[in-house]
Amino acid sequence: MNISGIFLQLFQNTLVVLIAPLLVGWVNQCRAWLQNRTGPGILRPYLNLFKLFQKDAVLAHNASPLFRFHPYILFACMWLAASLVPVIATDLPLSPSVDVIVLVGIFALARVFISLAAMDIGTSFGTLGARREMLVGFLAEPALLMVFFTAAAISHSTSLSTIVETLAHKQFVLHPSLAFAAIAFIMVLLAENARIPVDNPSTHLELTMIHEAMILEYSARHLALIEWASALKLLAFSTIGIALFLPWGIAEAGNWGAIPLALVALFLKLVAAGAGLALLETVSAKMRIFRVPEFMGTAFLLAVLGLLVHFLHGS
């Protein structure tokens, strides 16, 4: 662990926490353009966070300490997850401590906490959201893990840095297993980030909402932290997708000259990923909640198929 590595890690920590709302703003703006709306502007999430931090917090009468404490845990988990993904350079000092399985574990920890917090007040919507979130989660989590396993089996390592280095430095070989994994990953990304067709982040409707139902009782600073954490989660998933399936352009260990280029590459990839996500959301319709298990089951099976293809085919 060297000084430059620590510096880079701190830089990435700061970077992700600052640009996360920008990505959300960009996706929303793209969606607005695709739907022939003017859109709120890509800086809207920052203004929203600023607004929420100005307001007085309102807490339900029977909120327990778990309810008040949860936004901080959620924020810390998502911040950690987003900081762990090697997006600019691969030699992050935290990398040996946290591998891909742990990363999935961190997402699971955050999910369990948000569901518990949703059940804490004891309203009808809160428990409904918690149940649906766990329903999506119990299929999304193994699917995500299987996607990671495919990448891990290719690079013979579960360390994210090693996976990215291996995938980035290979000649452009089309791994059939990775193709399956990529489709599964996109489906997991949509589900985990409460996007259409699984969930709709912009409605408060009993029939559809999952994520929004869980955070109904939060306000002001708590809500701001949760929104920020959701933005970090979207950024984390986008960067994971970039790191696994489009890793080219990342700076190698100790190669400081490559970092500005890596930053530019990351920026362009995120812009493209955000636009792609908005397009996906626009062309698909929200599905019934009972169809979600089928959707997630498909993702899981695709991911397992990917791993199976790797084991049989050897690539």
Partner: protein, 670 residues
């Protein structure tokens, strides 16, 4: 000083067993609630501490052997303490410290005579489990095994005035004995006609592949009945809710592990050959058990039944590890076999702590509210904050979340899958990723189950009735639960030390260890094989999350004005809200019931619009009852009715039977 240095761990262990027996009889004689709870149970916990220390010192040390001049003439008891025994003895000691301390507080309301009997059975149970681990001949093993089954039967039926409890006890006793017969027969095959039932003879005997397989299958059946492997699991969801909570904790946390010990002892120690399909069989059975257990846990409405099904799941995970270890060991991939076995043993140890903690937690809930049905609980975090915090640790641990202990063993298990080298069969190679997927699915579902368990009991509002006067846990309960919760945290944060403890066991079983590679980058990082392939540092993760939380809190405190109001819950503006609008346990399990509908025999009673008192009831049945147990029971009944025709109750007909039998025997013998 010489006396102290010449004390072998096995002597200390025997001392503790004798001490527990003494406490058992003391409990029977005293029959005074105050003395029993304040003196005998804490004294039992002290014995457990000594036992754990002796086991710890014996791990990796020389093998201790002793012969006790007890038992039948010419059949003395052989005792042996090797690393495998020592590891399970450590599990027994460490987990029962917490359970005994908790019992000191929990049983304070029991009447003296009832508690005296319970105390007697409790300590006999402890001593017999320790003897199971020590036994070095089939004779002592079976005696200890039966003592364990009987004492636990009486413990399960403590509240025998309830008919359901008696029924649960009967099922438990029945399956325990069917299992015991299989174990006895497997010992019979292993001794190979020498008539010498010591384990030493069995180790030196050589079995053909056929007879080795027969032995393995009998042992898997017999020990599987005790462990709760599907389809022999049916006693667990009956017996656990019936027993008092500390007893459930003991049975689920520790007694199930005696069966795991038995499988490991027979497979890796007593039989000298292993075949690859044993591993595949164990792996498949383990996966079925794990998935079955967790799916059924998700739809339970009784908190102790839910935990019982969760135990079935965890036993399944442990069996998956055993299956992997056998398969890899057969193909001489001993490094990965050691990894799989380490994960198995680690998970067994973890499960003793987490499940003990959760079962004891349900005991406190039951004590404070008198309610076991999840549908009536809720909101207990307000009157019982200390209990809620301690149970949260156990729930997060068993859901397999970092940085707690359940995650470490799952991580190791997944690494064993991922690092699996090419096996010579292509079907086996295909099985590995599918098995990994099923295991991951089971552990993700465990998170669902634990959110349901914790959320419905502790969060929200009381669904029926008010629990404002529910009292929080007392000092003894806090000590017991605190010990187990501490275990969950420490086992999660310092995995390298635990793996160094497990090393002698894997050395003994598969001739390879994990410790050297696990600790190669220091105790902070856990690296199963090479640092480049995988590493994990729970302590660093834990610290980062803590730092992140504190940093966020400080930043918010610095920049935010901090104004806070309290108001009624918003709930999207719906004006009428009652506590009954929350999800019940059934509601929370509904998606699982819907997705996995074919697994359940679901019966629903749905009201019509004209019902005066609309009543809805949904019930999920275990179909194995209908397809396996009830047919066997009816066949048995028919057979006994047939045999019953021979009985007429007249002495001369019985004399005729004896005469005919004698004639037949004479014809054969001549």
């Amino acid at each position: 000083m010489t006396v102290v240095t010449s004390l072998l761990p096995i002597d200390v262990t025997l001392g503790v067993i004798a001490y527990w027996l003494l406490l058992a009889f003391a409990g029977l004689l005293l029959q005074n609630t105050r003395t029993l709870t304040r003196v005998i149970f804490p004294a039992g916990a002290g014995g457990a501490l000594v036992l754990a220390a002796a086991a710890l010192s014996s791990l990796g040390g020389p093998v201790n052997v002793a012969v006790l001049p007890l038992g039948l003439p010419d059949l003395p008891f052989h005792l042996r303490m090797d690393s495998l025994s020592a590891f399970f003895m450590l599990l027994l000691g460490a987990a029962s410290i917490g359970i005994s301390l908790y019992s000191a507080g929990y049983f304070r309301d029991y009447a003296g005579n009832k508690l005296g009997l319970l105390c007697f059975e409790y300590h006999i149970f402890l001593a017999s489990m320790a003897l199971v681990f020590l036994a070095d001949d089939a004779y002592l093993f079976m005696v200890a095994w039966e003592a364990m089954a009987l004492s636990s039967y009486f413990l399960v039926t403590t509240n025998h005035n309830i008919p359901d409890t008696r029924r649960a006890g009967f099922i438990y006793l029945l399956i325990a004995h069917v299992g015991a017969i299989a174990i006895l027969m497997s010992f019979g095959v292993m001794q190979g006609g020498h008539g010498d039932y010591t384990f030493a003879t069995m180790r030196s005997a050589h079995l053909t592949e056929f007879w080795a397989s027969v032995t393995f299958l009998l042992a898997l059946f017999g020990f599987g009945a005790k462990a709760g492997i599907v389809p022999l699991h049916v006693w667990l969801p009956e017996a656990h809710p019936a027993a008092p909570s500390p007893i459930s904790a003991m049975m689920s946390g520790i007694m199930l592990k005696t069966a795991i010990y038995g499988i490991l002892r027979v497979t890796f120690d007593l039989i000298d050959v292993q075949l690859w399909w044993w591993g595949v069989l164990a792996l498949t059975l383990g996966l079925i058990t794990a998935l079955f257990g967790v799916i059924f846990a998700a739809v339970q409405t009784d908190m102790k039944r839910l935990l019982a099904y969760s135990s079935i799941e965890n036993i399944g995970i442990i069996l998956v590890g055993i299956g992997l270890a056998i398969t890899f060991h057969v193909f001489h991939k001993d490094a990965v076999a050691a990894l799989a076995l380490t994960a198995t043993l680690y998970h067994a140890l973890n499960h003793a702590f987490m499940k003990g903690l959760l079962f004891l937690g349900t005991g406190s809930v039951l004590h404070a509210t008198g309610e076991r049905k999840l549908g009536k609980l809720g909101g207990l975090i307000h009157p019982m904050p200390k209990l809620a915090l301690l149970v949260l640790v156990g729930a997060l641990a068993i859901a397999g979340l970092p940085p707690l202990n359940g995650f470490v063993s799952e991580w190791l298990m997944l690494q064993a899958f991922l690092l699996s080298p090419g096996l010579p069969h292509s079907y086996l190679n295909m099985l590995i990723p599918i098995a990994a997927a099923a295991l991951v699915l089971a552990s993700a579902l465990a998170g669902y189950v634990m959110v349901k368990f914790y959320g419905v009991i502790f969060l929200g509002q009381p669904r029926e009735g008010k629990f404002e006067d529910a009292h929080d846990i007392g000092i003894w309960e806090r000590l017991g639960l605190g010990w187990l919760a501490l275990g969950c945290i420490l086992l999660g944060i310092f995995p390298v030390f635990v793996i160094l403890l497990i090393d002698p066991v894997t050395q003994l079983m598969v001739g390879h260890t994990l410790g050297n590679s696990a600790a190669q980058t220091g105790w902070l990082w856990l690296t199963p094989l090479e640092p480049g392939r995988a590493s994990y540092s729970p302590l660093i993760l834990f610290l980062i999350i803590i730092v992140g939380v504190i940093f966020t809190m400080l930043a918010v405190k610095k920049f935010y004005h901090g104004r806070l109001r309290h108001g009624p819950a918003w709930d999207c503006g719906f004006p009428e809200q009652t506590a009954r609008m929350q999800d019940t346990a059934e509601g929370f399990g509904q998606p699982i019931r819907q997705i996995f509908e074919p697994f359940f025999g679901v019966t629903r009673i749905v009201p019509t619009p004209f019902d005066k008192h609309p009543h809805y009831r949904g019930e999920s049945r275990d179909r194995i009852w209908d397809y396996a147990y009830l047919p066997i029971a009816s066949i048995t009944e028919k057979l006994s009715a047939l045999i019953g025709r021979l009985q007429h109750g007249r002495i001369h007909i019985y004399l005729l039977y004896s005469f005919l039998t004698l004639l037949a025997l004479l014809a054969f013998v001549r």
